[in-house]
Amino acid sequence: MRALGRWLTEHWIAVGSPLLLLVAWEWASATGLLREAFFPRPSTIAAHLRQLAADGTLWGHTAMTLIRIGWAFALAAVLGVSVGLAMGLWRQLRDGLDPVFAVIYPIPSVLFLPFVSFLVPPGEIALVVTTAVTSFFLIAFSTTQGVRQIDRLVVEAAVHYGARGWRLFATVLLPGALPLIFTGLRLGLGFALIVVVAVEIVAASRGLGALLWLSWQILKIEDMYATFFVIAFLGALLSYGLAAFRARLLPWVQDVAEP
Protein backbone atom coordinates (compact mmCIF):
# COMPACT_ATOMS: atom_id res chain seq x y z
CA MET A 1 0.00 0.00 0.00
CA ARG A 2 2.79 2.39 0.89
CA ALA A 3 4.71 1.34 -2.18
CA LEU A 4 1.66 2.17 -4.22
CA GLY A 5 1.39 5.55 -2.53
CA ARG A 6 5.00 6.35 -3.24
CA TRP A 7 4.65 5.22 -6.85
CA LEU A 8 1.62 7.47 -7.23
CA THR A 9 3.36 10.55 -5.83
CA GLU A 10 6.12 10.00 -8.35
CA HIS A 11 3.92 9.24 -11.33
CA TRP A 12 0.73 11.15 -10.60
CA ILE A 13 1.09 13.27 -13.73
CA ALA A 14 1.64 10.27 -15.98
CA VAL A 15 -1.46 8.59 -14.54
CA GLY A 16 -3.55 11.73 -14.25
CA SER A 17 -2.98 13.10 -17.72
CA PRO A 18 -4.65 10.28 -19.69
CA LEU A 19 -7.48 10.12 -17.12
CA LEU A 20 -8.02 13.87 -17.45
CA LEU A 21 -8.07 13.55 -21.23
CA LEU A 22 -10.67 10.80 -21.10
CA VAL A 23 -12.88 12.83 -18.77
CA ALA A 24 -12.48 15.94 -20.94
CA TRP A 25 -13.27 13.94 -24.07
CA GLU A 26 -16.35 12.40 -22.44
CA TRP A 27 -17.55 15.81 -21.36
CA ALA A 28 -16.83 17.54 -24.68
CA SER A 29 -18.62 14.85 -26.69
CA ALA A 30 -21.57 14.80 -24.30
CA THR A 31 -22.05 18.58 -24.47
CA GLY A 32 -21.60 18.66 -28.22
CA LEU A 33 -18.33 20.59 -28.14
CA LEU A 34 -16.87 17.72 -30.13
CA ARG A 35 -19.12 16.22 -32.78
CA GLU A 36 -20.24 12.92 -31.40
CA ALA A 37 -20.47 11.53 -34.92
CA PHE A 38 -16.68 11.85 -35.23
CA PHE A 39 -15.64 11.62 -31.59
CA PRO A 40 -18.00 9.26 -29.79
CA ARG A 41 -17.81 9.32 -26.00
CA PRO A 42 -15.24 7.01 -24.43
CA SER A 43 -18.02 5.34 -22.46
CA THR A 44 -19.91 4.61 -25.71
CA ILE A 45 -16.74 3.18 -27.25
CA ALA A 46 -16.23 1.01 -24.19
CA ALA A 47 -19.78 -0.24 -24.48
CA HIS A 48 -19.23 -1.14 -28.13
CA LEU A 49 -15.97 -2.84 -27.28
CA ARG A 50 -17.78 -4.93 -24.67
CA GLN A 51 -20.45 -5.84 -27.16
CA LEU A 52 -17.94 -6.79 -29.86
CA ALA A 53 -16.19 -8.97 -27.33
CA ALA A 54 -19.43 -10.49 -26.06
CA ASP A 55 -20.75 -11.60 -29.44
CA GLY A 56 -17.37 -13.08 -30.38
CA THR A 57 -16.69 -10.83 -33.39
CA LEU A 58 -13.65 -9.31 -31.79
CA TRP A 59 -12.08 -12.61 -30.77
CA GLY A 60 -12.42 -14.05 -34.26
CA HIS A 61 -10.69 -11.09 -35.88
CA THR A 62 -8.03 -10.83 -33.18
CA ALA A 63 -7.24 -14.53 -33.42
CA MET A 64 -6.96 -14.25 -37.19
CA THR A 65 -4.50 -11.35 -36.91
CA LEU A 66 -2.47 -13.09 -34.21
CA ILE A 67 -2.23 -16.29 -36.25
CA ARG A 68 -1.00 -14.33 -39.26
CA ILE A 69 1.55 -12.47 -37.13
CA GLY A 70 2.68 -15.77 -35.64
CA TRP A 71 3.30 -17.44 -38.99
CA ALA A 72 4.87 -14.37 -40.54
CA PHE A 73 7.14 -13.89 -37.56
CA ALA A 74 8.20 -17.55 -37.55
CA LEU A 75 8.98 -17.36 -41.26
CA ALA A 76 10.89 -14.10 -40.90
CA ALA A 77 12.77 -15.32 -37.83
CA VAL A 78 13.97 -18.61 -39.32
CA LEU A 79 14.97 -17.09 -42.67
CA GLY A 80 16.25 -13.84 -41.19
CA VAL A 81 18.49 -15.42 -38.58
CA SER A 82 19.87 -17.98 -41.07
CA VAL A 83 20.58 -15.43 -43.78
CA GLY A 84 21.89 -12.94 -41.22
CA LEU A 85 24.29 -15.49 -39.73
CA ALA A 86 25.48 -16.52 -43.19
CA MET A 87 26.01 -12.86 -44.12
CA GLY A 88 27.86 -12.23 -40.89
CA LEU A 89 30.15 -15.20 -41.41
CA TRP A 90 30.88 -14.88 -45.14
CA ARG A 91 32.11 -11.56 -46.37
CA GLN A 92 31.49 -12.39 -50.02
CA LEU A 93 27.84 -13.10 -49.43
CA ARG A 94 27.47 -9.92 -47.37
CA ASP A 95 29.03 -7.76 -50.07
CA GLY A 96 26.81 -9.35 -52.68
CA LEU A 97 23.51 -9.14 -50.81
CA ASP A 98 24.02 -5.71 -49.25
CA PRO A 99 23.09 -3.69 -52.36
CA VAL A 100 20.13 -5.99 -53.10
CA PHE A 101 18.77 -5.57 -49.59
CA ALA A 102 19.49 -1.84 -49.59
CA VAL A 103 17.15 -1.35 -52.54
CA ILE A 104 14.42 -3.69 -51.36
CA TYR A 105 14.36 -2.82 -47.66
CA PRO A 106 12.97 0.74 -47.82
CA ILE A 107 9.99 -0.35 -49.93
CA PRO A 108 6.86 -0.51 -47.76
CA SER A 109 5.89 -4.14 -47.29
CA VAL A 110 2.34 -3.72 -48.44
CA LEU A 111 3.68 -2.99 -51.94
CA PHE A 112 5.06 -6.53 -52.03
CA LEU A 113 1.55 -7.90 -51.99
CA PRO A 114 1.17 -7.91 -55.80
CA PHE A 115 4.57 -9.49 -56.32
CA VAL A 116 4.04 -12.08 -53.60
CA SER A 117 0.59 -12.94 -54.91
CA PHE A 118 2.22 -13.81 -58.27
CA LEU A 119 4.85 -15.87 -56.49
CA VAL A 120 2.75 -17.97 -54.12
CA PRO A 121 -0.90 -18.94 -54.18
CA PRO A 122 -2.92 -15.79 -53.46
CA GLY A 123 -4.92 -15.77 -50.26
CA GLU A 124 -3.74 -16.58 -46.79
CA ILE A 125 -0.21 -17.61 -47.78
CA ALA A 126 0.37 -14.42 -49.76
CA LEU A 127 -0.80 -12.35 -46.77
CA VAL A 128 1.57 -14.12 -44.41
CA VAL A 129 4.57 -13.93 -46.75
CA THR A 130 3.97 -10.23 -47.41
CA THR A 131 3.75 -9.59 -43.68
CA ALA A 132 7.08 -11.35 -43.20
CA VAL A 133 9.07 -9.25 -45.69
CA THR A 134 10.05 -6.23 -43.56
CA SER A 135 10.56 -8.33 -40.44
CA PHE A 136 12.87 -10.61 -42.40
CA PHE A 137 15.11 -7.69 -43.40
CA LEU A 138 15.22 -6.25 -39.89
CA ILE A 139 16.14 -9.61 -38.39
CA ALA A 140 18.73 -10.36 -41.08
CA PHE A 141 20.37 -6.91 -40.69
CA SER A 142 20.45 -7.15 -36.95
CA THR A 143 21.85 -10.69 -36.96
CA THR A 144 24.60 -9.74 -39.43
CA GLN A 145 25.49 -6.81 -37.20
CA GLY A 146 25.45 -9.13 -34.21
CA VAL A 147 28.02 -11.47 -35.71
CA ARG A 148 30.19 -8.62 -36.92
CA GLN A 149 30.40 -6.74 -33.65
CA ILE A 150 31.85 -9.72 -31.78
CA ASP A 151 35.28 -8.81 -30.43
CA ARG A 152 37.96 -10.15 -32.78
CA LEU A 153 40.18 -10.94 -29.81
CA VAL A 154 37.58 -13.27 -28.37
CA VAL A 155 37.28 -15.11 -31.67
CA GLU A 156 41.04 -15.35 -32.08
CA ALA A 157 41.48 -16.60 -28.54
CA ALA A 158 38.82 -19.26 -29.13
CA VAL A 159 40.49 -20.35 -32.36
CA HIS A 160 43.85 -20.38 -30.62
CA TYR A 161 42.48 -22.77 -28.01
CA GLY A 162 41.26 -25.10 -30.70
CA ALA A 163 37.64 -24.09 -31.32
CA ARG A 164 36.83 -24.60 -34.98
CA GLY A 165 33.84 -25.12 -37.21
CA TRP A 166 30.70 -26.04 -35.37
CA ARG A 167 32.21 -25.57 -31.92
CA LEU A 168 33.40 -22.07 -32.72
CA PHE A 169 29.98 -21.25 -34.07
CA ALA A 170 27.95 -22.74 -31.24
CA THR A 171 30.09 -21.57 -28.32
CA VAL A 172 31.44 -18.20 -29.47
CA LEU A 173 29.75 -16.75 -32.53
CA LEU A 174 26.12 -17.56 -31.82
CA PRO A 175 26.14 -16.49 -28.14
CA GLY A 176 28.04 -13.36 -29.08
CA ALA A 177 25.47 -12.44 -31.70
CA LEU A 178 22.50 -13.27 -29.48
CA PRO A 179 21.79 -9.82 -28.02
CA LEU A 180 21.49 -8.25 -31.45
CA ILE A 181 19.58 -11.22 -32.80
CA PHE A 182 17.09 -10.61 -30.03
CA THR A 183 16.90 -6.92 -30.87
CA GLY A 184 16.19 -7.89 -34.47
CA LEU A 185 13.47 -10.32 -33.42
CA ARG A 186 11.86 -7.67 -31.23
CA LEU A 187 11.83 -5.10 -34.02
CA GLY A 188 10.66 -7.77 -36.44
CA LEU A 189 7.71 -8.73 -34.28
CA GLY A 190 6.71 -5.09 -33.88
CA PHE A 191 6.82 -4.57 -37.62
CA ALA A 192 4.87 -7.76 -38.28
CA LEU A 193 1.93 -6.13 -36.47
CA ILE A 194 2.31 -2.89 -38.41
CA VAL A 195 2.44 -4.65 -41.75
CA VAL A 196 -0.27 -7.20 -41.06
CA VAL A 197 -2.75 -4.42 -40.31
CA ALA A 198 -1.94 -2.66 -43.60
CA VAL A 199 -2.13 -5.92 -45.53
CA GLU A 200 -5.45 -6.79 -43.91
CA ILE A 201 -6.84 -3.40 -44.85
CA VAL A 202 -6.00 -4.05 -48.50
CA ALA A 203 -6.59 -7.70 -49.01
CA ALA A 204 -8.39 -9.49 -46.20
CA SER A 205 -11.98 -9.81 -45.09
CA ARG A 206 -11.07 -10.97 -41.58
CA GLY A 207 -8.55 -9.72 -39.05
CA LEU A 208 -8.30 -6.47 -37.06
CA GLY A 209 -7.13 -4.40 -40.03
CA ALA A 210 -10.08 -5.63 -42.07
CA LEU A 211 -12.46 -4.95 -39.18
CA LEU A 212 -11.12 -1.40 -38.85
CA TRP A 213 -11.48 -0.72 -42.57
CA LEU A 214 -14.90 -2.31 -42.78
CA SER A 215 -16.13 -0.27 -39.80
CA TRP A 216 -14.96 2.84 -41.61
CA GLN A 217 -16.66 1.90 -44.85
CA ILE A 218 -20.02 1.31 -43.21
CA LEU A 219 -19.40 4.27 -40.88
CA LYS A 220 -19.63 2.34 -37.63
CA ILE A 221 -17.46 4.92 -35.92
CA GLU A 222 -17.68 3.41 -32.45
CA ASP A 223 -16.49 0.03 -33.73
CA MET A 224 -13.66 1.81 -35.51
CA TYR A 225 -12.45 3.32 -32.25
CA ALA A 226 -12.91 0.05 -30.41
CA THR A 227 -10.83 -1.82 -33.02
CA PHE A 228 -8.19 0.89 -32.90
CA PHE A 229 -7.80 0.46 -29.15
CA VAL A 230 -7.45 -3.28 -29.52
CA ILE A 231 -4.71 -2.81 -32.13
CA ALA A 232 -2.97 -0.25 -29.93
CA PHE A 233 -3.19 -2.64 -26.99
CA LEU A 234 -1.62 -5.42 -29.08
CA GLY A 235 1.14 -3.04 -30.16
CA ALA A 236 1.94 -2.07 -26.59
CA LEU A 237 1.85 -5.70 -25.51
CA LEU A 238 4.21 -6.79 -28.28
CA SER A 239 6.75 -4.02 -27.93
CA TYR A 240 6.86 -3.55 -24.16
CA GLY A 241 6.19 -7.17 -23.30
CA LEU A 242 9.05 -8.34 -25.45
CA ALA A 243 11.38 -5.69 -24.03
CA ALA A 244 10.63 -6.96 -20.52
CA PHE A 245 11.13 -10.54 -21.69
CA ARG A 246 14.51 -9.64 -23.13
CA ALA A 247 15.55 -7.99 -19.87
CA ARG A 248 14.91 -11.32 -18.13
CA LEU A 249 16.49 -13.47 -20.80
CA LEU A 250 19.63 -11.43 -21.48
CA PRO A 251 19.99 -9.28 -18.38
CA TRP A 252 23.63 -8.40 -19.08
CA VAL A 253 23.06 -6.45 -22.26
CA GLN A 254 21.74 -2.99 -22.95
CA ASP A 255 19.24 -2.99 -25.74
CA VAL A 256 20.84 -1.12 -28.63
CA ALA A 257 17.56 -0.35 -30.32
CA GLU A 258 15.88 1.29 -27.35
CA PRO A 259 14.05 4.21 -28.92
Partner: protein, 237 residues
Protein backbone atom coordinates in the same frame (compact mmCIF):
# COMPACT_ATOMS: atom_id res chain seq x y z
CA UNK B 1 30.75 -9.20 -55.28
CA UNK B 2 28.76 -6.05 -54.68
CA UNK B 3 28.17 -5.78 -58.42
CA UNK B 4 28.40 -9.43 -59.35
CA UNK B 5 25.63 -10.94 -57.25
CA UNK B 6 22.92 -8.35 -58.02
CA UNK B 7 23.88 -8.52 -61.71
CA UNK B 8 23.76 -12.32 -61.65
CA UNK B 9 20.30 -12.22 -60.07
CA UNK B 10 19.02 -9.84 -62.73
CA UNK B 11 20.50 -11.93 -65.56
CA UNK B 12 18.98 -15.07 -64.07
CA UNK B 13 15.59 -13.38 -63.91
CA UNK B 14 15.99 -12.13 -67.49
CA UNK B 15 16.78 -15.61 -68.80
CA UNK B 16 14.04 -17.33 -66.79
CA UNK B 17 11.53 -14.81 -68.05
CA UNK B 18 12.68 -14.88 -71.70
CA UNK B 19 12.54 -18.65 -71.84
CA UNK B 20 9.29 -18.72 -69.90
CA UNK B 21 10.72 -20.71 -67.00
CA UNK B 22 8.68 -18.30 -64.91
CA UNK B 23 5.48 -16.88 -66.42
CA UNK B 24 6.60 -13.66 -68.19
CA UNK B 25 3.12 -12.24 -67.72
CA UNK B 26 3.76 -12.03 -63.98
CA UNK B 27 7.54 -11.70 -64.04
CA UNK B 28 8.50 -9.64 -67.08
CA UNK B 29 12.21 -9.51 -67.98
CA UNK B 30 14.16 -6.74 -66.19
CA UNK B 31 15.15 -5.18 -69.52
CA UNK B 32 11.48 -4.69 -70.41
CA UNK B 33 10.84 -3.14 -67.00
CA UNK B 34 13.89 -0.94 -67.49
CA UNK B 35 12.63 0.33 -70.84
CA UNK B 36 9.18 1.00 -69.48
CA UNK B 37 10.74 2.80 -66.52
CA UNK B 38 12.84 5.10 -68.68
CA UNK B 39 10.03 5.66 -71.16
CA UNK B 40 7.37 6.43 -68.55
CA UNK B 41 9.53 8.63 -66.37
CA UNK B 42 10.35 10.87 -69.30
CA UNK B 43 7.09 10.85 -71.22
CA UNK B 44 4.38 9.15 -69.19
CA UNK B 45 2.79 9.31 -65.80
CA UNK B 46 5.62 7.77 -63.78
CA UNK B 47 7.55 11.00 -63.49
CA UNK B 48 4.45 13.02 -62.63
CA UNK B 49 3.28 10.50 -60.03
CA UNK B 50 6.73 10.45 -58.42
CA UNK B 51 6.44 14.18 -58.01
CA UNK B 52 3.01 13.75 -56.39
CA UNK B 53 4.49 11.32 -53.88
CA UNK B 54 7.49 13.58 -53.28
CA UNK B 55 5.24 16.61 -52.74
CA UNK B 56 3.21 14.66 -50.18
CA UNK B 57 6.38 13.52 -48.49
CA UNK B 58 7.67 17.08 -48.37
CA UNK B 59 4.47 18.40 -46.79
CA UNK B 60 4.27 15.54 -44.30
CA UNK B 61 7.86 16.06 -43.24
CA UNK B 62 7.46 19.84 -43.01
CA UNK B 63 4.42 19.39 -40.76
CA UNK B 64 6.12 16.86 -38.50
CA UNK B 65 9.70 18.13 -38.19
CA UNK B 66 9.51 21.37 -36.27
CA UNK B 67 6.74 20.44 -33.80
CA UNK B 68 8.40 17.05 -33.27
CA UNK B 69 11.81 18.52 -32.44
CA UNK B 70 10.26 21.23 -30.26
CA UNK B 71 8.10 18.83 -28.30
CA UNK B 72 11.03 16.45 -27.85
CA UNK B 73 13.27 19.22 -26.55
CA UNK B 74 10.59 20.64 -24.25
CA UNK B 75 9.81 17.20 -22.86
CA UNK B 76 13.50 16.70 -22.21
CA UNK B 77 13.85 19.96 -20.35
CA UNK B 78 10.55 20.11 -18.46
CA UNK B 79 9.93 17.02 -16.38
CA UNK B 80 6.21 17.60 -15.68
CA UNK B 81 5.49 18.03 -19.39
CA UNK B 82 7.35 14.85 -20.10
CA UNK B 83 5.34 12.95 -17.48
CA UNK B 84 2.12 14.29 -18.93
CA UNK B 85 2.86 13.57 -22.59
CA UNK B 86 4.90 10.38 -22.42
CA UNK B 87 1.91 8.05 -21.88
CA UNK B 88 0.40 9.18 -25.20
CA UNK B 89 3.67 8.78 -27.07
CA UNK B 90 4.18 5.34 -25.59
CA UNK B 91 0.60 4.46 -26.51
CA UNK B 92 0.68 5.67 -30.11
CA UNK B 93 4.27 4.85 -31.07
CA UNK B 94 3.88 1.07 -31.53
CA UNK B 95 0.52 1.46 -33.30
CA UNK B 96 0.58 1.02 -37.07
CA UNK B 97 0.01 4.61 -38.22
CA UNK B 98 -2.06 3.42 -41.15
CA UNK B 99 -4.84 2.76 -38.61
CA UNK B 100 -5.11 6.53 -38.17
CA UNK B 101 -6.07 6.91 -41.81
CA UNK B 102 -9.79 6.04 -41.42
CA UNK B 103 -10.07 8.49 -38.52
CA UNK B 104 -8.46 11.27 -40.52
CA UNK B 105 -10.63 10.38 -43.51
CA UNK B 106 -13.71 10.79 -41.36
CA UNK B 107 -12.63 14.01 -39.70
CA UNK B 108 -11.02 15.70 -42.71
CA UNK B 109 -12.82 13.99 -45.55
CA UNK B 110 -11.21 11.94 -48.31
CA UNK B 111 -8.36 13.99 -49.72
CA UNK B 112 -4.83 15.29 -49.47
CA UNK B 113 -4.92 16.55 -45.84
CA UNK B 114 -5.86 13.11 -44.52
CA UNK B 115 -3.19 11.35 -46.63
CA UNK B 116 -0.44 13.80 -45.74
CA UNK B 117 -1.30 13.85 -42.03
CA UNK B 118 -1.07 10.05 -41.83
CA UNK B 119 2.50 10.32 -43.12
CA UNK B 120 3.20 13.25 -40.81
CA UNK B 121 2.09 11.40 -37.65
CA UNK B 122 4.33 8.53 -38.62
CA UNK B 123 7.33 10.85 -38.74
CA UNK B 124 6.27 12.98 -35.77
CA UNK B 125 6.42 10.31 -33.08
CA UNK B 126 9.79 9.03 -34.26
CA UNK B 127 11.19 12.57 -34.22
CA UNK B 128 9.85 13.26 -30.71
CA UNK B 129 11.25 10.03 -29.33
CA UNK B 130 14.69 10.42 -30.91
CA UNK B 131 14.98 14.07 -29.86
CA UNK B 132 13.89 13.25 -26.33
CA UNK B 133 16.51 10.50 -26.20
CA UNK B 134 19.21 13.05 -27.01
CA UNK B 135 18.16 15.52 -24.33
CA UNK B 136 17.63 12.95 -21.66
CA UNK B 137 21.30 12.10 -21.44
CA UNK B 138 22.05 15.56 -20.01
CA UNK B 139 22.68 16.25 -16.37
CA UNK B 140 19.49 18.00 -15.19
CA UNK B 141 21.47 20.48 -13.07
CA UNK B 142 23.00 21.93 -16.21
CA UNK B 143 19.74 22.21 -18.07
CA UNK B 144 18.54 25.72 -17.32
CA UNK B 145 21.66 27.70 -18.10
CA UNK B 146 23.31 25.77 -20.84
CA UNK B 147 20.51 25.10 -23.28
CA UNK B 148 21.98 26.77 -26.35
CA UNK B 149 25.61 26.02 -25.65
CA UNK B 150 25.47 22.43 -24.54
CA UNK B 151 22.07 20.82 -24.60
CA UNK B 152 21.09 21.62 -28.13
CA UNK B 153 24.47 20.70 -29.68
CA UNK B 154 24.53 17.53 -27.60
CA UNK B 155 21.05 16.62 -28.79
CA UNK B 156 21.81 17.43 -32.41
CA UNK B 157 22.88 13.93 -33.48
CA UNK B 158 19.71 12.44 -32.00
CA UNK B 159 17.61 15.13 -33.62
CA UNK B 160 19.18 14.40 -36.97
CA UNK B 161 18.69 10.67 -36.52
CA UNK B 162 15.06 11.32 -35.62
CA UNK B 163 14.52 13.45 -38.70
CA UNK B 164 16.18 10.87 -40.90
CA UNK B 165 14.18 7.95 -39.50
CA UNK B 166 11.05 10.09 -39.51
CA UNK B 167 11.43 10.89 -43.19
CA UNK B 168 11.82 7.19 -43.99
CA UNK B 169 8.75 6.29 -41.93
CA UNK B 170 6.73 9.06 -43.56
CA UNK B 171 7.60 7.66 -46.99
CA UNK B 172 6.55 4.16 -45.94
CA UNK B 173 3.26 5.39 -44.49
CA UNK B 174 2.51 7.63 -47.48
CA UNK B 175 3.14 4.97 -50.09
CA UNK B 176 0.98 2.56 -48.10
CA UNK B 177 -1.75 5.21 -47.91
CA UNK B 178 -1.50 5.74 -51.66
CA UNK B 179 -1.70 2.01 -52.24
CA UNK B 180 -4.79 1.73 -50.06
CA UNK B 181 -6.78 4.91 -50.47
CA UNK B 182 -5.35 7.58 -52.77
CA UNK B 183 -5.94 7.84 -56.49
CA UNK B 184 -2.48 9.17 -57.31
CA UNK B 185 1.17 8.73 -56.38
CA UNK B 186 3.62 5.87 -56.81
CA UNK B 187 1.85 3.63 -54.31
CA UNK B 188 -1.38 3.98 -56.24
CA UNK B 189 0.42 3.21 -59.52
CA UNK B 190 1.62 -0.12 -58.12
CA UNK B 191 -1.93 -0.91 -57.04
CA UNK B 192 -3.54 0.13 -60.32
CA UNK B 193 -1.10 -1.74 -62.53
CA UNK B 194 -1.46 -4.78 -60.31
CA UNK B 195 -5.24 -4.68 -60.80
CA UNK B 196 -4.81 -4.20 -64.56
CA UNK B 197 -2.05 -6.82 -64.67
CA UNK B 198 0.19 -4.42 -66.57
CA UNK B 199 3.16 -5.89 -64.77
CA UNK B 200 6.07 -4.04 -66.45
CA UNK B 201 4.56 -0.73 -65.29
CA UNK B 202 3.90 -2.23 -61.86
CA UNK B 203 7.52 -3.26 -61.43
CA UNK B 204 8.74 0.06 -62.76
CA UNK B 205 6.74 1.97 -60.13
CA UNK B 206 7.88 -0.54 -57.52
CA UNK B 207 11.52 0.03 -58.47
CA UNK B 208 11.05 3.79 -58.28
CA UNK B 209 9.75 3.53 -54.72
CA UNK B 210 12.82 1.46 -53.86
CA UNK B 211 15.15 3.97 -55.50
CA UNK B 212 13.46 6.84 -53.69
CA UNK B 213 13.74 5.07 -50.35
CA UNK B 214 17.36 4.17 -50.99
CA UNK B 215 18.21 7.72 -51.95
CA UNK B 216 16.57 9.14 -48.83
CA UNK B 217 17.97 6.64 -46.34
CA UNK B 218 21.50 6.34 -47.71
CA UNK B 219 21.75 9.95 -48.78
CA UNK B 220 20.70 11.32 -45.42
CA UNK B 221 22.94 8.90 -43.58
CA UNK B 222 25.91 10.07 -45.63
CA UNK B 223 24.91 13.68 -44.95
CA UNK B 224 24.66 12.97 -41.24
CA UNK B 225 28.08 11.36 -41.21
CA UNK B 226 29.54 14.48 -42.84
CA UNK B 227 27.69 17.20 -40.98
CA UNK B 228 27.98 15.58 -37.58
CA UNK B 229 31.43 14.14 -38.07
CA UNK B 230 32.20 13.99 -34.35
CA UNK B 231 29.42 11.55 -33.77
CA UNK B 232 30.73 8.08 -33.13
CA UNK B 233 28.44 5.98 -35.18
CA UNK B 234 25.40 6.59 -37.28
CA UNK B 235 22.77 3.93 -36.63
CA UNK B 236 22.70 1.19 -39.21
CA UNK B 237 18.97 0.86 -39.69
Amino acid sequence: MAVLLPAALLVLWEICSRFAVVPPRYFPPPTTVGWVLVDRVVAGDLGAQSLVTLARLGSAFAIAALPGVLLGLLMGVARPLRDAVEPYIAFIFPVPKITLLPFLLIILGVGEPAFVLTGATSAFFQIVISTLGGVQTMDPRLLARLFWKIILPAALPSIFTGLRLGLGLALVALVAVEFIAAKSGLGHLVYRHWQMLSTPEMYAAFALVGALGLLLTRGLRALQARVLAWQEEVGSL
